[in-house]
Amino acid sequence: VWYHRPVINEELLQSLPNLKIVASAGVGIDHLDLKLLSSYGVKVSNTPFVVSTDTADMGMALLLASARRLVEGHEMAVSPDTEYFPADWLGVEVSGATLGILGMGTIGYKVAERAKAFEMKILYHNRNQRKKEEESAVGAVYCKKIDDLLQQSDFVLLAVTLTPQTHKLIGKRELELMKPTATLINISRGLVVDQDALVEALQNKVIKAAALDVTYPEPLPRDHPLLKLKNVIITPHIGSATKKTRWVMVEEMTESIEAGLAGLPIPREVL
């Protein structure tokens, strides 16, 4: 399964009586009904760790691009109408700012490692607190309550898995808790954010900007308000889209499929 296609539903499973395994590209499996697949005796695998570094890099790329107004700046630099670069055209400083990471799994932790090198102050919220040594290594402070993180962060980065608990984790209430100077970065799943609330928050300057590698749906309808906002950067779910990583992903998927077909233990099986 690549980019959620084909859609795995009851109809499809019934039409494929000899299906033994579904290998999904990437780490997220929110698009798969695991109970349904299990009831048909079909095994599932994903490619969890290989995507982490590139996705963390994407999170930082979006954070920096948004803070420093890179996309806007490029447009100004190449626009036929530009006569000079205004001296009062400013972005927001990244070094020394506060980053709040929601979801401190493998990807979230890699983001923290990178952010530390930018002398950023790191807060994180997670289902469980990380070990003291892991926290110290990146200088991350645990926020048991998400509200504390939202109120103090200059940048809020979403790196959670999509589950019923994280569905619309960031809604109107959460956006209002954020600083009006804050930026929301989403590298998890579109559904983690209440998109309509986000549009309103951006239009009314409740928060400053957003940078999204994921939306719901993907891609957004062409008349969607998010596409028109100046303070939004959108990328087409390219978190893991590098040649090297995609190569390894396909290798891993092939490996899992071969094991599944041979009745052997499946590497990266999702249970």
Binding site: Y3, T53, D54, D57, M58, M60, A61, L62, L64, A65, A67, R68, R69, L70, V71, G73, H74, M76, A77, V78, P80, T82, E83, Y84, F85, A87, W89, L90, G91, V92, E93, V94, S95, G96, E113, R114, K116, A117, F118, E119, P219, L220, R222, L227, K228, I233, I234, T235, P236, I238, A241, T242, K243, K244, T245, R246
Partner: protein
């Protein structure tokens, strides 16, 4: 009014400091620059009028290093290109076509390892990059080890091995057109050139040709010669280039800190005290 002026705070190269201006300001004691680069000032001329000069080195390094990393990541992951695809009225794109370059494990070659270059090395290390650097002088062993950087005495060696070449030198007669046709040819065809120093460090015509013919993969420039480029310049039309309007230090915090540094220098000069960041003609 000219007789009352004792200090000038130079903001983005304005006003232009020439002989005429200096002659019209007999009581001028100090010119404080908003930034670290002094290539736009005739240091000998200013000194000949007995006027002191100062720059703002401390405030710029982190912001400029951040800009360098922002450009490196944006170029590697084709951020500007794909943002435009994401918001375009047409939905035609093939996901398999928008692959970027993996940053982790790639080699970054830093040309110019001063304060800004070193801060870039600190950041790049966190991205698990291999770091090579070329500099007038080699850094101390502890400094090299702290960022895992390897010294390349010859720039050629750096150019041949780097996946990303980042220019962080001051503009001097020695670094003028440091990167020309020869240097671009030494680079890998898969490599990216990032310039956060000064436009004149690069031979722009040679860069244009290199990008058009695939001699290097891409470029990301925060600085050009001139700024802005003429609107019909061929560099503006390339797909594999990102150009930003000299963002280097354009943040709220950096602007504040630069102004603070300038004021410190101005007050010191007016009170006959040593300047915290005086720049002397070499």
């Amino acid at each position: 009014i000219g007789k009352k002026v004792q200090a000038i705070y130079l903001w983005w190269h304005k006003p232009v400091i020439n002989k005429e201006l200096l002659q019209s300001l007999p009581n001028l004691k100090v010119i404080a620059n908003s930034g670290v680069g002094m290539d736009h000032l005739d240091l000998k001329l200013v000194a000949s009028f007995g006027v002191k000069m100062a720059n703002a080195p401390r405030a710029v390094s982190s912001s400029t290093a951040d800009t360098g990393m922002a450009l490196l990541l944006a170029s590697a992951r084709r951020l500007v290109e794909v943002h435009n695809i994401s918001i375009s009225p047409s939905m035609e794109y093939c996901e398999a076509d928008i692959l970027g370059v993996k940053v982790a494990g790639a080699t970054l070659g830093i040309v110019g390892m001063g304060s800004i270059g070193y801060k870039i090395a600190l950041r790049a290390k966190a991205f698990e990059m291999n770091i090579l650097y070329h500099n007038r002088t080699q850094r101390k062993v502890q400094e090299e080890q702290a960022v895992g950087a390897t010294y390349c005495k010859k720039i050629d060696s750096l150019l041949q091995q780097a996946d990303f070449v980042m220019l962080v030198v001051s503009l001097t007669p020695q670094t003028h057109k440091l990167i020309g046709k020869r240097e671009l040819k030494l680079m890998k065809p898969t490599a990216t050139l990032i310039n956060i120093s000064r436009g004149a460090v690069v031979d722009q015509e040679a860069l244009l040709a290199a990008l058009q013919t695939g001699v290097i993969r891409a470029a990301a420039l925060d600085v050009t010669s001139p700024e802005p480029l003429p609107r019909d310049h061929s560099l503006l039309k390339l797909k594999n280039i990102i150009i930003t309007p000299h963002l280097g230090i354009k943040t709220d915090k950096a602007t504040y800190m630069i102004t603070e540094e300038a004021v410190e220098n101005i007050l010191a000069a007016l009170n006959g005290l040593p300047l915290p960041s005086e720049v002397l003609p070499s």
